[in-house]
Amino acid sequence: MRSSKGNIFIWILIILAILVIAAVLWQYKSPSQTPSATEPLSGSDTTAGIQKDISDVDLGADLEKNLDSELDKDINSL
């Protein structure tokens, strides 16, 4: 009788652990997924949601910095 209760307890612990791991993985995965890179029309279509989507669009603010860092060192060494 005791061992059967113990088994149930272990199974509950395993299920809880799986749920916690799944939640942690989902949490870490979701911020990197931009709407355009994954599912189209994901997220809210309220004005607040749309406003957020527009704010999230990065035209390429670090373009100049990126070109300099990728090329300048080599060019200057010539």
Binding site: S36, P40, D45, T46, I50, D56, L59, G60, L71, L78
Partner: protein, 240 residues
């Protein structure tokens, strides 16, 4: 005496029974009409909901198709340009191979490849930005349809959507044109390498910033303007 009381009482009772029957029939009629009205409103709401759902699916497919199409177009333009510029690229590689200084030769080889890799990376980024804008525009269209179901005036927002579509298309064409560019260094002697690569880098910089601050920015502004037009619609966030 009894007759005098009984006969009017019978008439009165009959009238009473008749009025009860009539009023209950009327009440039934009113109840039926109300039920019918509620039912038709429910059906209308359900139909509107289904229309919005269908529109959402349609837009989702459209955004996905546009994204794939744009990706293929950019890849095709790039590969075609590389084929066309093959001779020029081979000549430059051969010239770089002749550089006597090992370090300078290796650096030049790396830079020549890096210039085109950066163009590829940034045109892919701009293409991605345009996909994001198309996604936002699709959401705006869904919100417009919802507002329209709620009898809001959405004509300005609809006009703005068309303008934004045109701006995104123009930006897509500009990105494809940029992706088709092949950057090659031009030099006569080893001493010119630094100046020559600086000049190509400047050209790449001018082209990419021009694209970002021109066509791509215009597309984003057009989407922002559409969003502003949408916000003018009263009760735009109310779900029907």
């Amino acid at each position: 005496m009894k007759k005098r009381i009984i006969i009017p009482s019978m008439f009165l009772a009959a009238a009473l029974v008749l009025s009860v029957i009539t009023s209950s029939a009327n009440a039934q009629g009113i109840y039926d009409k109300a039920r019918q009205a509620v039912k038709s409103v429910k059906v209308e709401t359900q139909n509107a909901g289904e229309e919005i759902k269908a529109k959402r699916e349609e837009l989702k497919k459209e955004v996905e198709a546009k994204r794939e199409e744009a990706k293929k177009r950019v890849e095709a333009a790039r590969s075609e340009a590389q084929q066309k510029a093959k001779n020029r690229l081979d000549e430059v590689k051969a010239k770089i191979n002749k550089i006597k200084d090992d370090r300078k030769r290796q650096t030049s080889e790396r830079l020549q490849e890096q210039l085109n890799r950066l163009n590829e990376r940034w045109t892919a980024h701009f293409s991605n930005v345009l996909s994001q804008l198309e996604n936002v525009l699709a959401k705006i269209e869904i919100r417009i349809q919802k507002a329209e179901t709620g009898s809001g005036n959405v004509s300005d927002a609809k006009t703005a959507v068309e303008k934004a579509r045109a701006e995104i298309k123009a930006a897509r064409d500009a990105v494809t044109a940029q992706a088709a560019k092949v950057y090659t260094v031009s030099f006569v002697s080893e001493n010119e390498l630094k100046v020559a690569f600086k000049s190509v880098k400047e050209q790449l910089h001018t082209d990419l910033t021009g694209l970002r601050d021109g066509a791509v920015k215009n597309a984003r502004k057009a989407v922002q303007d559409t969003f502003q037009a949408l916000r003018q619609v009263p009760n735009v966030d109310v779900e029907n």
